[in-house]
């Protein structure tokens, strides 16, 4: 029995992105975050804690965006998926911002 799909956006053939390149970028960012924190704990790096935390957060968000865009194909799929997933993310950002106030 063959199941026939009807996903107009999925039928748009897109070339597979460079998954290895994305993986290497993710691994490199993880390595940078870990090495920075270990050096900070050892006293090699003496940057203020807020600077370090902001850097960690920025790199983590970059990694999350890379996974969502390329591994989850949000960059290539219907924009409706981005809206569906992006709205609660936006809500969460507002939620965290309110927590900080």
């Amino acid at each position: 029995m063959t199941v026939q799909h009807h996903d107009k956006t999925d039928k748009k053939a897109h070339k597979h992105p460079n998954y290895l390149g994305v993986f290497l970028a993710l691994a490199m960012l993880t390595a940078i975050i870990t090495a920075t924190e270990l050096m900070a704990e050892a006293g090699v790096i003496t940057w203020p804690r807020p600077v370090l935390n902001s850097a960690y957060l920025a790199m983590s968000i970059t990694k999350a965006v890379l996974v969502a865009m390329f591994y989850m194909h949000l960059k290539f799929d219907s924009f409706l998926y981005t809206v569906l997933f992006g709205l609660p993310v936006l809500f969460a950002v507002v939620f965290f911002a309110l927590l900080l106030i």
């Binding site: 029995m1 063959t2 199941v3 026939q4 799909h5 009807h6 996903d7 107009k8 956006t9 999925d10 597979h16 998954y19 290895l20 994305v22 993986f23 993710l26 691994a27 993880t30 390595a31 975050i33 870990t34 924190e37 270990l38 704990e41 370090l52 935390n53 960690y56 957060l57 790199m59 983590s60 968000i61 990694k63 999350a64 996974v67 969502a68 390329f70 591994y71 989850m72 219907s78 409706l80 998926y81 569906l84 997933f85 709205l87 609660p88 993310v89 809500f91 969460a92 939620f95 965290f96 927590l99």
Partner: protein
């Protein structure tokens, strides 16, 4: 079987998974907020030999585990690429490697819990311990559910209950969405729980 075309022109299973993941964003947001607010409120002297619970955490081990989960995400997306290109053997190998990496991740997390709870004495009786175990435990539970799902996919990939093909691989793609989301959550948790 011919399904009627969905009104949005999108595959219902994929749309349903994105909707589910949207609800998961809110679920984990609340748990993360819970951890961020409560984990630093323990009175001094709550932990054995250290000032904060965070100092008990093993960052190199967790960084290694993060790398393991990242690699499993890479192998899932490779599995999808392989089946879309009709490379059945490589597809099955990629899924098996994903299962191995996912199981390894859970194993390392279990070891981490053992060290924290038994050796370091970090229990549920502190705010840090309670929120840490709740947050990372729910993430681990999601990985476990993913492994169960992946096992079923593997049965299908090896010909039990049908199989996947170049044209029929939405099951793999939908699983991939779930697995990548679990990966995204862990990437954020690694910074928010272990480093910040």
């Amino acid at each position: 079987m011919i399904h009627p075309p969905p009104s949005l022109g999108l595959d219902n299973r994929k749309f349903g998974m994105w909707g589910f993941l949207a609800s998961e964003v809110l679920f984990f947001s609340v748990l993360i907020a819970n951890f961020l607010v409560l984990s630093k409120l323990d009175p001094p002297g709550s932990f054995h030999g250290v000032e904060t619970g965070r100092e008990l955490l093993n960052i190199p081990l967790t960084a290694f585990n993060t790398f393991v989960l990242l690699t499993s995400s890479f192998t899932v997306v490779l599995a999808l690429q392989f089946i879309q290109e009709g490379k059945q053997f490589l597809f099955r190998v990629a899924l098996l490697v994903t299962l191995a990496f996912g199981a390894f991740f859970i194993g390392v997390q279990a070891y981490e819990y053992y060290v924290l709870a038994v050796v370091e004495g970090l229990g549920y009786d502190t705010l840090f311990g309670a929120t840490f175990y709740t947050l990372t435990g729910f993430h681990g539970f999601h990985v476990f559910i993913g492994l169960c799902w992946l096992t079923i996919l593997l049965f299908k990939a090896f010909g039990v209950m049908g199989g996947f093909s170049r044209k029929d691989n939405m099951g793999v793609e939908v699983f991939g969405l779930y697995w990548h989301f679990v990966d995204i959550v862990w990437l954020l948790l690694f910074s928010l729980v272990y480093l910040i």
